[in-house]
Amino acid sequence: MAIPRPEAAQAPRLLLCVDDNYRCQPRPRRAGLALTRPAVLDGLLSDGPLDDVFITAADPRSLVSEGTPVVLPRGCDRLDVGVSLVARIGSSAEGLSVAYSVGLDFVRRDVPAIQPYQARSFPTHKVMSAVAVPAAGFALDPLTELVLRVDGETRQRSTLAQMIAKPAELVALIAARCELRDGDVVFTGTPNGTALDAGRGWLRVGSVVDAEVTGLGTVTATVCAEDARR
């Protein structure tokens, strides 16, 4: 099918994705980063507690609403997915506010890990549930469960107790460097159990993915093929 893409005006201004943010998650990116970090930078870095939590930008127009088919790119033989608690930035009289949704974070594992923008930015590869629960109405209970199923098989089952940087910490970290505005979106990471972790189970055309976060609801997506036309 042709690739569904929201107009820029309908997309969030800023879409960030967090990785390596669950203690239970293997950390494949660290090795790649160590190889690419120039030694001249060593003396400038403070080795803060969140330095290894990976924050990357994804294309805002990769975000679609539930019900939009997720496109398997031509030539991609390793499409992966994880469930994510999504922090949706809003504004209030006191400043920025946060509401939560359930997200599906599709990632191309055929793209080298040192290319996170390209791996995470294909159109339709970020899916977000329509329901947004204000932070005031959603306690970040450590026992809150995140579950992901592919074709009915449970792939991920974890809790927020495993989360390293909580949404408020992430928002503060990002806002210290960048301008966050009403409508911006942060996918806050995914626990272990992805196809990358298992080394199998890559998504195919027709795969049905559904995710649930206790108290926030569910989100579902179906994988389809990219149009063969150039």
Partner: protein, 292 residues
């Protein structure tokens, strides 16, 4: 052609730069879109009209003197991508290997600034560096193209400064390159009828001191190879901007490192692409970061 953007009566306007005159393109040819971004969105139709306009009497007379208009970034891109370590000299300076394929990152929305804009640093931003670069601007969508076909989708080139905070962990690279004002662009978009992609050079000075000097022949990956590589991973759009890497001479590569500070002026100058100037300021009391 040399396309610029300028503000007139509170609105953004596309201009054609001819010598020291600026032609308001939508005023001269009412069928044309009034902004460069919208011209690029319909580039196949707009380019021939602009070429005709560039050779007309209207262009010679112009609507404004260049000195009388305030230029802003040549376009308001939806997406600014960048590639790193693309000059051999910079690879040596940073002691990194040449990437087998062009790396790709996103400059965050809100980073774009115009020529002669001021870069305002917060009090905590102490390791901010310049990176003089050439930016490719696309005039057509691209998906799975070959490098040899890239000239079909490239509208032109302009100068860019990929400003970067060096004290940000590599895992937060997007944030280190994503502060407001960290992507000055301009002063003009020079289209392919007026420029050879393999023969562009530029220098970077800070307060008049030469820091960087480069020619496109020193790039590891050509403009065409970068665009083609990016198009294999993602669909690219008309109006996308791609920063193509910086040569040796960045502040972090010096011993000891030398970063930008209040009062510094960075000038990126190219015989083919013009001059992009950024002045740095650091207010005595910077605003506090926003709290969630």
């Amino acid at each position: 052609m040399r396309l610029v953007s300028f503000a007139a009566a509170g609105r953004l306007r596309a201009g054609l730069l001819v010598a020291d005159r600026v032609v308001d393109v939508a005023r001269a040819r009412p069928g044309l879109a009034p902004t460069v971004s919208r011209l690029l969105a319909a580039w196949d139709d707009a380019a021939p009209v602009l070429l005709e306009l560039a050779g007309s009497a209207v262009a010679r007379d112009g609507h404004h003197r260049l000195a009388d208009v305030r230029l802003v970034a040549p376009l308001a891109p939806v997406r600014v991508l960048g590639t790193g370590a693309n000059y051999v000299s910079h690879q040596r300076e940073m002691d990194v290997a040449a990437p087998p394929q062009p790396s790709c990152f996103l400059k965050l929305p809100g980073t774009v600034a115009g020529p002669d804009d001021e870069l305002r640093l917060g009090s905590e931003q102490r390791c901010v560096d310049y990176e003089g670069e050439i930016a490719v601007v696309l005039g057509r969508p691209a998906r799975d193209i070959d490098p040899a076909d890239a000239t079909d989708v490239i509208a032109g080139l302009m100068l860019a400064n990929d400003i970067s905070a060096r004290d940000v962990p590599m895992a937060h690279l997007a944030l280190g390159k994503g502060s407001p004002g960290f992507c000055p662009l301009g002063p003009q978009l020079v289209t392919l009828d007026e420029i050879a992609l393999d023969d562009v050079s530029f220098t970077v000075t800070v307060n008049g001191e030469l820091r960087q000097q480069a020619h496109t022949s020193e790039m590891s990956h050509t403009f065409g190879e970068i665009v083609a590589s990016f198009s294999h991973a993602l669909p690219l759009d008309a109006g996308d901007v791609i920063l193509t890497g910086t040569p040796a001479g960045v502040g972090v590569g010096m011993v000891p490192p030398r970063f930008l500070d209040d009062g510094d002026t960075v000038v990126i100058a190219s015989p083919q692409l013009g001059t992009l100037r950024t002045t740095v300021s650091r207010p005595a009391r910077a605003a506090s970061p926003v709290s969630p």
